[in-house]
């Protein structure tokens, strides 16, 4: 049985000569919470849009809940929740109008939740959406995406224009009602603390490829910075993820070493310092 919600195989997508997805392979198992990390232009949004069938691809195959994204079944569409990066949509309606409009297109709709969230996130019910602030629009988009209780959530920078308190509140909603339901979540972000709080897996993207995909806890235990002499570091070449940066006699590099081997290496190579890195530092250096 195939339990992968998303299955992408050597997907190629280019925009007038620029390669946005470069033979990308990616899969997302059911029930996983995956944070998609990447710098601007790494292809995060493109990946999501391709998965949802909002953009055509040039080569490769994609399956979303087993469907071809270009012909998603009704059942699949009913399971999907999507928060796009562009949130200034349906500006000609007010929030309740937009929500009741969308309600007509779903078999399931949780009115209590939408109302509670509108109240909690204090979104005006009489103002046109086009006149709401960026953060309010984003929150409204989140409400829309959660209202039909989807079990596959695809969130494209869902907290980009929210303040820290707003982000915390959104994450709490995610933790309480989405993750608790065992939903599958793919979200892109550049705010690492959020990712660390809720994600189980992390996938790092760079120039249209998935650089690495790993369990977050494992990765944060394995992410290390090595400092030592150039020849000594070269001996650990197999672990290195970045090129050596040489300052005089010492050189540094970022590596991923399984926790069990770290202690062993410390003994074997006392001349090398092995330091733990925060995920953020790791991310910045690896995707540099």
């Amino acid at each position: 049985m195939n339990t992968n919600i998303i299955e992408m195989q050597s997907v190629v997508k280019s925009f007038t000569g620029k390669l946005a997805l470069n033979r990308l392979d990616f899969s997302l198992a059911s029930g996983k919470i995956v944070g998609l990390l990447g710098r601007n232009g790494a292809g995060k949004s493109t990946l999501m849009e391709c998965v949802l069938g909002l953009r055509g691809i040039q080569a490769g195959t994609i399956a979303l809940c087993g469907d071809d994204p270009n012909a998603l079944s009704q059942a699949t569409r009913g399971r999907l929740g999507y928060v796009p990066q562009q949130t200034d949509l349906f500006g000609w309606m007010t929030a309740p109008q937009m929500l009741s409009f969308f309600k007509a297109f779903y078999p399931v709709w949780n009115d209590n939740k939408t109302n509670a969230l509108l109240d909690r996130w204090s979104i005006s019910r009489t103002t046109l959406i086009s006149r709401l602030s960026g953060g309010e629009k984003q929150r409204l988009a989140i409400i829309r995406a959660l209202a039909h209780e989807p079990d596959v959530l695809i969130l494209d920078e869902p907290v980009a224009s929210l303040d820290p308190a707003g982000r915390r509140d959104f994450l709490r909603e995610l933790v309480d009602s989405v993750i608790a339901r065992n939903a599958t979540v793919l979200f892109s972000t550049h705010i690492l603390t959020d990712l660390e709080r809720v994600a189980v897996d992390v996938a790092m993207m760079k120039s249209g490829k998935i650089l690495l995909q790993a369990e977050l806890d494992t990765l944060s235990a394995e992410a290390v910075r090595l400092t030592g002499t150039e020849p000594s570091l070269k001996k650990l070449q197999a672990y290195l993820l970045t090129n050596l940066v040489v300052h005089g006699v010492t050189a540094t590099a970022v590596a991923r070493i399984p926790a069990a081997e770290q202690a062993q290496l410390r003994v074997q190579h006392p001349e090398i310092t092995i330091e733990h890195m925060s995920l953020e530092d790791f991310f910045i250096e690896v995707t540099a």
Binding site: S14, F15, T16, L52, G53, L54, R55, G56, I57, Q58, A59, N70, A71, L72, Q74, A75, R77, G78, L80, Y82, P84, Q86, L89, F90, W92, M93, T94, P96, Q97, S100, F101, F102, K103, A104, F105, Y106, P107, T126, T127, L128
Partner: protein, 540 residues
């Protein structure tokens, strides 16, 4: 049965219907907002045309003409939206979209609908529009599915409307100063009524295409060889208009239109009441929300003005929206089509007015070319711009389980269509202008043809975009543009060559006939993806 009982029955029947219709809260709210947009468009066009009339001629008659054209346009739009919405709602597929809509509603509406259609057909069977409408509808009926049938129907509806409008105005400057002459447009209303009637038929009967084919052959025979197979029944509308039949039909159409407007008003008020009961959107709330200055201006002197607007405009647009939700991919598509139609009406007014002074015909043709060629570019660009804007909205909708079209727009393809439609239209227009100068063709015909081209280009483009949002290859755009050109130019030649003495009465139907048939035929082929299509190389 005495009058009281009869009226009571009507009220009860109406009340039941209204009650059921009032469950369409969602669309109604959307309708509010769009209704207001429309009001602004209407007012804008009205003011513009009056200003133009004053600037150019400064006569009371020209102002009245301009106003007449605009107001008739509004009536036609309302009528069409009402009827098409009824049609839209009477299919099971669409019922799902409307929460809590009851089965009886649909039956009741279908019944009212068919009765209206029958009424109109009975009184207009002598008019040529009947035949035109029948076979256009039948051609449309042969399309494989509801959505495409509807798109094609919309297309021919617009074509017939335009034709009818111009025919009514053709070469008759004696109509100029006469207000009631504006009601010559009853042909237009009749044309729309036909459309409406036929829409019902299309939805119900599948064997009609064969009948349509036979009718079409007879029609073409009449047209091409001037044999007048229908000589007994098809009368020249310019003669007809001065007969008793024509007068009767005029009154009947007006009566039917007003009946429908009344119905629309009733639906509006019922919906409004339902809305007030829910107390979610207060009658003054949405106006202020849409026009911020609404709250600042002292509207107290006109209590309920906002309320009145919501009632008068909200409900018909509610239907309009429903229709679009059901069939449309782009939320603003029909807005643009209607805008295009208003442009055309305005253009018709121009022609109407210009036909009064007796100027140099050749120079006049050039003037028309200058006036209308930019339109050929502007309208499709506007459409495409709107496509951009709504693309993201459309994408969100295409991800919902009940949105009828689960694919999103391909920008590149849209652009190509737009470009080639523009090229084809401009080319056709320039050719026509040259024809006009060389052969000293009647200025009205030239103008009509140009308007026809703009209309055809825009509607064809829109229809294609609607039904083929996700084309796999842009080569089809080329094919389509090629066909647009090919359809138009031969028609010019054919009608100029074969129709007797460039009869203003016959010209538009003949041209439209050819265009419609070829377009419908081509369109149908087009709707089936050719096997040669390279799949999977879409760029957007």
């Amino acid at each position: 049965m005495n009058a009281a009982v009869a009226s009571d029955t009507v009220v009860r029947l109406g009340g039941r219907m209204m009650e059921m219709l009032s469950s369409m809260r969602v669309n109604y709210q959307v309708g509010h907002t769009l209704g207001l947009t429309w009001l602004r468009v209407y007012l804008g066009v009205a003011v513009l045309s009056v200003l133009i009339a004053i600037l150019l001629w400064g006569t009371a008659a020209s102002v009245i003409n301009a106003l007449t054209i605009v107001s008739v346009g509004i009536l036609v739009v309302w009528w069409f939206q009402f009827v098409s919405a009824m049609y839209a709602m009477s299919t099971p597929q669409n019922m799902r979209l409307v929460p809590n809509l009851r089965r009886e509603t649909v039956w009741l509406m279908s019944l009212a609908w068919v009765l209206t259609a029958l009424l109109l057909v009975t009184f207009f069977f002598l008019v040529q529009w009947f035949f035109l409408a029948v076979f256009c509808m039948l051609a449309a009926a042969s399309l494989p599915n509801q959505r495409q049938r509807f798109a094609a129907t919309g297309f021919v509806s617009m074509v017939i409307l335009c034709a009818a409008v111009w025919q009514g105005m053709a070469g008759t400057s004696l109509l100029g100063a006469n207000f009631s002459a504006g009601l010559m447009l009853d042909h237009a209303v009749a044309g729309w009524a036909m459309m409406a009637g036929m829409l019902a038929v299309i939805g119900l009967v599948r064997v009609l295409p064969i009948v349509g084919l036979v009718l079409w052959l007879l029609w073409v025979g009449t047209m091409m060889f001037n044999t007048r197979i229908f000589g007994m029944v098809v009368l020249d509308p310019l003669q007809l208009v001065y007969t008793a039949t024509s007068q009767t039909s005029l009154y009947l159409v007006s009566a039917a239109a007003f009946f429908c407007l009344l119905l629309v008003g009733m639906v509006g008020s019922a919906t409004d009441r339902a809305l007030s009961r829910r107390a979610e959107v207060t009658p003054s709330g949405w106006g202020v929300a849409t026009w911020p200055w609404f709250g600042k201006v002292g509207w107290q002197w006109l209590p309920g003005f906002d309320y009145f607007l919501s009632r008068a405009l909200g409900a018909p647009y509610d239907f309009g929206r429903l229709m679009q939700f059901t069939f449309g991919r782009m939320l603003h598509w029909s807005t643009l089509c209607w805008l295009a139609m208003l442009w055309l009406l305005l253009g018709g007014g121009f022609l109407f007015m210009l036909s009064v002074p007796d100027g140099d015909r050749g120079a006049m043709s050039m003037l028309f070319a200058i006036i209308f060629i930019p339109n050929a570019v502007l309208l499709p660009s506007a459409l495409i711009r709107a496509t951009y804007r709504v693309r993201a909205e459309h994408q969100m909708l295409s991800l919902t389980p009940r949105w009828p079209a689960p694919v999103s727009l391909n920008r590149q393809v849209a652009w190509h269509f737009a470009k080639y439609c523009m090229v084809a239209t401009v080319l056709g227009m320039v050719m026509m202008a040259i024809f006009a100068i060389v052969y000293k063709i009647d200025v009205v015909i030239v103008g009509k043809f140009m308007l026809t081209m703009v209309a055809t280009g825009v509607v064809l483009l829109a229809a294609v975009l609607r039904c083929h949002a996700r084309m796999k290859s842009i080569d089809l755009g080329l094919v389509m543009a090629f066909w647009v050109t090919l359809i138009m130019l031969p028609n010019v030649l054919v009608t100029l060559t074969f129709s007797s003495s460039y009869s203003p009465g016959w010209f538009p139907p003949a041209a439209f006939l050819g265009i419609t048939m070829l377009a419908a035929w081509r369109y149908r082929q087009f709707l089936r993806y050719p096997k040669s299509l390279p799949a999977g190389n879409a760029v957007d």
